[in-house]
């Protein structure tokens, strides 16, 4: 099986230790939040990458977030992670992506609580 076909090293689901934060930032009916968990994950990961920060995934219980196959339907994250970590394996890139997201969601939640909207939080963070 080629790398293109299994870009993230065969991982099936994304697990997080911050599921509660994701839920806090996600609401389909609230225009000040993001509609889907996937969107929140994308924004959190992008924020971590942009800020070049990541939380190491500590040992302990984690909660399921989303399916991996829905994470990068357009392939942009894989391209980006490949360019950022050219020597890493698919599994390593996946773990780094999740670590970026774990950082990003923490920061996003902090700012959201302060400013009341995703966009305001992002404006603040970026």
């Amino acid at each position: 099986m080629s790398q293109l076909e299994r870009p993230w090293g065969g991982a099936a689901k994304i697990y997080t230790k911050k599921r509660r934060l994701y839920d806090e930032l996600t609401d389909r009916k609230n225009s000040k939040k993001l509609p889907r968990l996937m969107d929140t994950f994308h924004v959190a990961a992008a924020l971590g990458i942009r800020l070049n920060r990541a939380d190491l995934l500590a040992e302990g219980p984690r909660e399921e977030l989303i399916n991996v196959y829905t994470v990068d339907s357009e392939g942009v994250l894989w391209l980006l992670m490949s360019s950022l970590y050219p020597d890493a394996s698919g599994q390593e890139r996946f773990e780094k992506l999740v670590a970026h997201a774990e950082y990003g969601v923490e920061r996003l939640a902090e700012e959201y609580r302060t400013f009341g909207s995703i966009q305001s939080a992002l404006d603040r963070l970026l």
């Binding site: 225009s31 969107d39 992008a46 924020l47 942009r50 391209l79 980006l80 992002l122």
Partner: protein
């Protein structure tokens, strides 16, 4: 009534005028006219009948009666004149007929017959032929004359069983019943006519009643329609008052109405904004899915730049490696051959110089460069494409800004709406709406009522026209049935009259029948030579008659002899004549034809004692066997028919006793 003279001119064998004068009749009532067969006896009978009753409108009969010699003579005339005497009154009847022009060759050559009637020498009532004929029939009706003037050999038809209708009528006439019968028939006919008219009027009356009922219904419909119109008009008036009141109430709410209109406008605007917000939400949902790309845009740009540099470097290195590979292959071959490709022999120094010239070192000849594993070209294209996608899409931030503005607008509108609603608090929006609807309903109802009134007025007009037509018809029928009551009374009277006449005819007929039966039996017993065999001559109600023997049996008439039938018939005729209402002479043509000596003598005796004028047309044999001797005392006039064989004409001469 006696026949005193009979004058015959150009009638059958009688050419010229022949006069029979019965001057002695007052004292001696029996006259004999002798003549062999074919000399003209029956012609005398026919002449008398023609004189009295004409030729039944058949000119052909008159033509046959007209003497053949006389027919050939221009201007000739056939005429019979009969003179009668009844008490002090005398009657003269003259009937004549002549040719139209010249000779008479066919019946068509004859003109109409003429009749003259003198009563006591005076012309009778203007000589109208119809009136004269009526008068003659009063004296001796034509159908009754068959019992006065008859052929003795033909009277047996009366004894043939059931008499014909004509015979019964004739008997009734003789007995004077015909007047009652006629009166009854007239009453029945009138009853029928009046009844028909009454039925017609009853039908009209039914029609009248039907129309009257229809009129009542129309009147009722008219009353109802008018009441409905009045009711609708009242309702319409009331409805207008209600509308005016509602309009007044609505005017009081005019300010509120303006607020309502503003509210309506604001709500519409808000609805539009809501729609836009929903559209924006959809766009934001799409933008949310790509928000991470907006965040990553700087990273993607940097990485794309780096990857481009890496890809370029990778390409350059790849090309250098290829060149070196080629040169190395060439150098290896030159070193192996010890000479250049141009053929010059190369030593180590020369070879080292060549390597320098090719930009190679000894190390390059020993190592082979391998390309990186990362597909930088592909990564570069992918990242650049992602960036292009980001640039072609409206940013999430922009949509958020729009959404923020939109929600601000919505908030503002909601504030205004809330303010307006607060202002409207004193007014009831529902009431205003109800008022508007009530006014609309009110106007709709008024329109409906106006239409109904129009329809009803049209119906009233139609009913009025129909009523006028009915009135005309009822008036017309009313005029027609006015006489119905009187007609019903007339009908009752006529019915009673017809029944009365019928009773009279029946009772009179019954009484006369018994008398005639007695008289006829008396004559029969005087004439018959079988006195021991027959008890009496029976006459039924319908004037059929039979003989009853001494045992009470009635032999069928067809079984008795012709002579006996003749005797029976003669007895009946004589009995009938005893009760005849019309006094007339008896003219008998050959009365003894089939009879034996005894019967002839008995008849002669009866005729002798009859006491009325009897004219007997006889052959020589009729007067044999002592007949003439029996009659001699009463014979007044006796004639002889003289026949000229050459001219086939006859004349009559008086015979000396």
């Amino acid at each position: 009534m006696n026949l005193t003279q009979l004058a015959i001119s150009n009638f059958r064998p009688y050419y010229g005028e022949t006069v029979l004068d019965f001057g002695a009749v007052a004292d001696r009532p029996v006259s004999l006219i002798h003549g062999p067969n074919g000399y003209g006896k029956t012609s005398i009978l026919l002449a008398l009948q023609w004189c009295l009753y004409g030729h039944n409108r058949r000119r052909r009969e008159a033509f046959e009666y007209f003497n053949t010699l006389a027919r050939t003579e221009a201007g000739s005339l056939m005429q019979v004149r009969a003179e009668f005497q009844s008490g002090s009154k005398s009657y003269t009847i003259v009937r004549r007929i002549r040719g139209k022009n010249g000779c008479i060759e066919t019946a068509q050559d004859l003109d109409n017959d003429e009749i003259t009637f003198l009563e006591d020498g005076e012309r009778y009532q203007g000589q109208d032929p119809v009136v004269i004929q009526e008068r003659i029939n009063e004296l001796l009706p034509q159908n009754a004359s068959q019992f006065a003037f008859f052929d003795g050999e033909k009277i047996e038809v009366y004894s043939g069983g059931d008499p014909s209708e004509a015979t019964r009528d004739a008997i009734a006439t003789v007995l004077g019943l015909h007047l009652f019968t006629q009166a009854k028939e007239d009453a029945v006919r009138l009853t029928y006519e009046v009844s028909t008219e009454r039925q017609r009027l009853l039908s009209r009356e039914q029609e009248h009643a039907k129309l009257a009922r229809e009129m009542e219904e129309v009147e009722q419909d008219l009353r109802e329609a008018r009441a409905q119109v009045e009711q609708r008009k009242d309702e319409l008036k009331e409805m207008k008052a209600v509308e005016a009141d509602l309009v007044r109430q609505l005017a009081a709410h005019e300010e509120a109405r303006q607020i309502l209109r503003d509210l309506e406008e604001l709500r519409k605007t808000r609805s539009d904004l809501e729609t836009k917000r929903n559209e924006l939400k959809d766009q934001m949902q799409d933008a949310s899915a790509h928000l991470y790309l907006d965040i990553l845009a700087p990273v993607l740009t940097e990485q794309a730049r780096k990857m481009r540099l890496m890809a370029d470097e990778q390409l350059r290195r790849s090309r250098e490696a290829a060149r070196k590979a080629t040169v190395r292959e060439l150098a290896d071959r030159i070193r192996a051959d010890g000479r250049c490709i141009c053929g010059q022999v190369l030593d180590d120094e020369s070879f080292q110089k060549l390597l320098i010239a090719l930009g190679l070192t000894e190390q390059d000849l020993e190592t082979d460069d391998q390309p990186d594993g990362l597909d930088t070209q592909r990564l570069t294209r992918g990242l650049e494409n992602a960036l292009a996608t980001i640039q072609g899409r409206e940013a999430f931030a922009s949509l958020v800004a729009k959404m923020s503005m939109l929600e601000n607008d919505l908030d503002e509108i909601d504030t205004v709406i809330a303010t307006k609603e607060t202002l409207l608090a004193g007014f009831d929006e529902k009431t205003i709406q109800t008022l508007i609807e009530a006014i609309a309903n009110c106007r709709g109802n008024q329109e409906l009522l106006s239409r109904e009134i129009g329809d009803l007025e049209g119906r009233i007009q139609d009913l009025g026209s129909y009523r006028e037509r009915l009135e005309t018809q009822i008036r017309r029928l009313g005029g027609q049935i006015a006489g119905l009551e009187k007609l019903t009374e007339e009908l009752d009277v006529l019915n009673a009259t017809a029944r009365a006449f019928d009773d009279i005819v029946h009772e009179t007929s019954s009484a006369r029948r018994n008398e005639i039966q007695d008289a006829s039996t008396r004559y029969f017993k005087s004439i018959t030579n079988k006195l021991h065999a027959y008890e009496r001559l029976l006459i039924e109600d319908d004037f059929s008659f039979a003989l009853e023997d001494t045992q009470g049996c009635r032999p069928p008439m067809q079984l008795i002899s012709a002579g006996e039938k003749q005797v029976t018939a003669l007895s009946f005729i004589l009995g009938l004549n005893d009760f005849s209402q019309h006094e007339a002479p008896i003219l008998m043509d050959t009365p003894m034809g089939r009879l034996d000596k005894e019967h002839r003598k008995n008849i002669a005796t009866v005729l002798r004692d009859l006491g009325r004028q009897v004219i007997l047309l006889v052959t020589d044999t009729d007067t044999e066997f002592g007949v003439r001797e029996i009659l001699a005392p009463v014979i007044g006039d006796e004639f002889e028919i003289v026949h000229d064989q050459a001219t086939l004409t006859s004349t009559i001469a008086r015979r000396n006793s």
